[in-house]
């Protein structure tokens, strides 16, 4: 799309996502709770950034805010320079945790769903959904209902759905958390393959350190509540990533470094 507008090429220096002094306080029965404290980070275009942290650190709040589903109490989020105030599905796609497929829709209809909400015509959305289904390797499974698919296949459908509006940025909220170890590894490779083809900017929330190192260019470590960014770790492993890299010393060191950051907190 940017190809149509040569002027837009000049904007490549602008990060896809910029989070500035993001703070969130919510009211609870026992008084105000500070969930996020002064979060600052930028995600350049096409970078794969992971967010890890202990449970209850506000990762999910942060993600809801990046999806435009929750307003922060302070600070702001810029999507390619533009402040985010509501969901912008053409800019940001979201792949949620398991069980977020509409159970009464088939795989294909689920992938079409975001397009349907934006008023894309039937023929076009079917065509785009078919292509995405193929992209995630589920050709021939389009007519299945979610409960007729395995956990890994359901997550493939979720990923395809996240791509359906062809957003620049993809938010992923522990998408593989409910999968078994083997499926998880396969899905990670699948995700990297698709990411390599489609050139997306990814923000990937996970609590698996191995997954974070394996998938990401950079990992942000969050502290316990109130959630702050306490460490940023570059992952200099070359791409494409391979399973063998997990056994290398560098991989182990990076994983160790993240773990120490979390534990120190």
């Amino acid at each position: 799309m940017t190809k149509l507008n040569p002027m837009a090429q000049g904007a490549t220096d602008m990060p896809d996502v910029a989070v500035e002094a993001l703070t969130h306080v919510y009211e609870s029965a026992s008084g105000p709770v500070e969930a996020l404290q002064n979060i600052d980070f930028v995600v350049p275009a096409q970078r794969f950034v992971g967010v890890v942290g202990p449970s209850g650190c506000g990762k999910s709040s942060l993600l809801l805010m990046l999806a435009g589903l929750q307003r922060p109490s302070g600070g702001r989020i810029l999507i390619r320079g533009k402040p985010l105030t509501k969901p912008e599905p053409e800019e940001i796609g979201v792949v949620f945790q398991e069980a977020s497929l509409l159970p009464w829709k088939t795989a294909l209809e689920n992938i079409e769903f975001p397009l349907k909400l934006r008023g894309v015509g039937k023929a076009e959305r079917r065509q785009r959904a078919e292509a995405l289904l193929e992209m995630v390797g589920l050709r021939g499974f389009g007519d299945r209902l979610p409960h007729e698919l395995s956990g890994g296949m359901r997550q493939r459908v979720s990923i395809a759905r996240g791509f359906s509006q062809d957003p620049k940025v993809l938010l992923m909220d522990e998408p593989f958390a409910a999968l078994d170890e083997q499926t998880r590894l396969t899905m990670g490779d699948e995700l990297l393959r698709i990411w390599g083809q489609r050139q997306k900017t990814v923000i990937f929330v996970t609590h698996s350190l191995t997954e974070a190192v394996y998938l990401c260019d950079e990992v942000l470590v969050m502290s316990r509540r109130p959630g702050r960014i306490i460490d940023r770790i570059d992952i200099p492993l070359e791409r494409p990533r391979t399973y063998e890299m997990m056994a290398t010393e560098t991989f182990g060191r990076l994983r160790e470094r993240i773990w120490r950051s979390i534990r120190k907190d």
Binding site: L64, A67, G68, L69, P87, E88, P89, V94, F96, Q97, A99, S100, L102, P103, W104, F113, P114, K116, L117, R118, L145, P146, H147, Q165
Partner: protein, 249 residues
């Protein structure tokens, strides 16, 4: 396996009818009180071709239908309102749960005082019978919509209307239909009961009349027809419920 079950079920029905027939014919039961099945069947067939009975049947059917048409939007609407509006819900929900447990038949005399004994009283009583279960089912249905699905729709830019149409409604429909099915049964019960209590028209009034005048074959025929009608309605709704709820596992 399924065919085998159907065969067994058919055999049970045939056996019961044969037992009924022979018991009555051999005088094991008083044929005055329990006429043979064949006699009852002939009377039932006769009723279905008797224009004056068909008129009564139509009165009952139209009372039930009208009550359904009235109660469906009100029941579902009230259920949604009581679920979505926190203030109203907290204030009024308990009354619905309390009233649902009271036998509605005790209110029938009040309906006669308000509406008289005609068509509108039967419809009103049918509505009254059905509304509680429908409201409660709708509240349960609305509470069952998973938060993740709402989030997915919102994140993809759904408007309120789209959220309702694409997420709430399909998620709620099987549970609402379950309530609606019970509602229809209560509705039929209410209408027929009101007709039996005091009325000049409707199947209920005929059944009550036949009972009092000791016209036993017609009484049994009437009972069987009402039973068949209710079963057909119930099974039709159940089939539809299954069809739209196949995704529920």
């Amino acid at each position: 396996m399924k065919g085998q079950h159907a065969l067994v079920q058919l055999a049970i029905v045939a056996g019961a009818l044969a037992a009924w027939e022979t018991a009555s014919r051999l005088g094991a039961v008083n044929p005055q009180l329990l006429p043979p099945f064949s006699t009852v069947a002939v009377h039932a067939a006769g009723l279905l071709t008797d224009p004056s009975f068909l008129k009564h049947l139509w009165v009952t059917v139209s009372e039930v239908l009208l009550a359904c048409i009235i109660v469906a939007p009100i029941g579902v609407g009230l259920g949604l309102l009581l679920k979505e509006n926190e203030y109203l819900g907290a204030a009024f929900r308990p009354f619905f749960y309390f009233l649902a447990s009271v036998p509605k038949s005790v209110f029938l005399p009040i309906f006669i005082l308000i509406f008289g004994i005609g068509f509108s009283q039967k419809v009103a009583f049918g509505v009254f019978q059905a509304i509680f279960v429908l409201v409660i089912a709708t509240i349960a249905a609305a509470s069952s919509v998973p938060a993740e699905l709402i989030r997915v729709a919102r994140a993809n830019g759904a408007t309120n209307w789209q959220l309702y149409r694409e997420v709430y409604w399909p998620a709620m429909l099987p549970l609402i239909l379950e309530g609606a099915r019970l509602g229809v049964i209560f509705n039929i019960t209410g209408v027929v009961f009101a007709e039996m209590y005091v009325s000049r028209a409707g199947v209920g009034s005929k059944i009550s009349e036949w009972g009092q005048s000791f016209n036993i074959p017609d009484l049994f025929a009437g009972i069987i027809l009402v039973a068949l009608l209710s079963i057909v309605v119930n099974e039709t709704l159940r089939w539809y419920e299954y069809r739209v709820g196949r995704w529920r596992v």
